[in-house]
Symmetry: C2
Subunit: 294 residues, 2 copies
């Protein structure tokens, strides 16, 4: 599938970046696990570290037609009750049903996709949960996408603004048009209509992103990943040593229920993955470890 | 909306039956709460009883066009960690989008619907969870429907067969054709493709049920409800005094996660309700109180 936007070199560079970002994020989160001194956390035992598990996509006889796979990294620790970082690179053909919904796939159903997806469920109800993913997709067209949100149980305006400013900086470095558009898209996307409430306090969301300049678009996607790497672990450190109450913990378990509702009722990636034979364990790694609908 | 199958007298009788069944089920479950002596349960405090909360459907100015509502009954007890019994009777017009999927609604969008829905999440991992619902719907046509399943964490063949025999008896009293068809329908419906596993050990499922004889069809739906009333509370009694381990409890929390996945990803009633502005609290009363995706 010759394609100027998304040639083999570009695919390799994107995949290598997602894997590098994974390594750096895992290291930053493991460092938090080592450094925590807080009273609740220390009672939970040893510092957690990431365990990796790879999976392969069921391939056809000819691996040039369909194949690939991914690596799940999971940490179950004393600060991060469950943190998952998935990287995957897969290729194949979209089913008849999905072709019409994917840009550039109706002419030729072949696709290539690589990305990173991060979900963090902290033990402390005072520390926001977070989700971040970025990806590169190639059909007869090619584009980048990404999204996520910060999901505090008890939102704090100053913390929220600090987080948003980091993404504004990352976007503004490329074009001042991006951030307002991506933030609005996020607020509309991470919303639960049946609860009439947002899942979290937002972040950014972008998709089908192709300015015609692959280098520039890739650089934006890298900066978005770096902004997460530079903000979330620091945010976690500001909260990791604070004790919490059982009432706060119960509020967190209920908030996590809303997170489950969003992912299973509305999240496009989750529904797309589950209904097209994706790796269930990797897709549902996003679900929170301890949840309540009281 | 004149309709021979589903006239006003029939509507009133169906609604009265669903409410009577609700009262009898609540009383039977409350009796179990009083009678339990088991070591785990007794440490959890007082016997639970049902609390009722009514809700009204957002009505148009003219209540002859749209209206109705329902009553939620919830028990949070020492045997039943969360048991919910909803009855509702609503009427109105289906949206453009849904008309084409509902028998008899494309000619005239008006509908009337009444039903009972029961979900029981026991505290003991040795006691199966259970779901049961039956309903009567009237459009330009009219019909009954129902369904549910028994959802044990640790299935026991003898218990399962005993439960199935009760529904076979209820169905066979009306026609020997029903049970095999309804059981197969249930097994196909309560299935999680992404896990390649059944939600529970089955029960029955039927829909669009109209033989042309309203009295006979109503009698079947009553017998189905009676079979649940006569089997589940007795089954609960055989398990209520057995102690369990933390490992068994954790297995139950994980199994409940599968229950959530089914309800939010596949259950037609849940998705239909949430996406058509139903009462969120009543619809999601089905979700389990303490759940894990470890």
């Amino acid at each position: 599938m010759p394609n100027e936007y998304g040639n083999d070199t570009q695919k390799n560079r994107a995949q290598a970046w997602f894997e590098l970002l994974r390594d750096e994020l895992c290291a930053a989160l493991e460092a938090v696990e080592l450094d925590v001194k807080g009273p609740n956390a220390s009672s939970e035992g040893e510092a957690g570290s990431f365990e990796r598990k790879s999976w392969e996509r069921p391939a056809s006889d000819d691996s040039s037609i369909a194949g690939g796979g991914g690596v799940m990294s999971i940490l179950r620790g004393r600060v991060f009750e469950k943190a998952g970082v998935n990287v995957s690179t897969v290729w194949g053909e979209f089913s008849e049903e999905f072709r019409k919904n994917v840009p550039g796939a109706s002419q030729d159903p072949r696709f290539w996709a690589s990305g990173i997806s991060v979900v963090i469920h902290p033990r402390s109800p005072l520390m926001p949960a977070a989700h971040m993913n970025t990806r590169m997709i190639v059909t007869t067209r090619g584009w980048f996408g990404g999204g996520g949100d910060l999901t505090p149980v008890f939102p704090e305006e100053e913390e929220t603004q600090k987080f948003h400013r980091a993404y504004k900086r990352a976007c503004d470095a490329h074009s001042e048009d991006y951030y307002p558009k991506f933030k609005k898209w996020c607020d509309e996307y991470f919303f639960l209509p049946h609860r009439n409430e947002a899942r979290g306090v937002g972040w950014i969301f972008y998709d089908n992103f192709n300015t015609g300049d692959w280098e520039a678009d890739f650089a934006l996607t890298q900066d978005v990943g770096r902004a997460f790497l530079e903000t979330y672990p620091l945010l976690a450190r500001t909260k990791m040593d604070h004790p919490w109450t059982n009432e706060q913990r119960q509020a967190q378990r209920v908030k996590r229920g809303r997170y489950v509702e969003f992912n299973l009722l509305y999240d496009r990636g989750t529904l797309f993955g589950l209904k097209t034979g994706g790796n269930t364990e990797a897709i549902l790694m996003s679900l929170p470890p301890d949840t309540a609908w009281p």
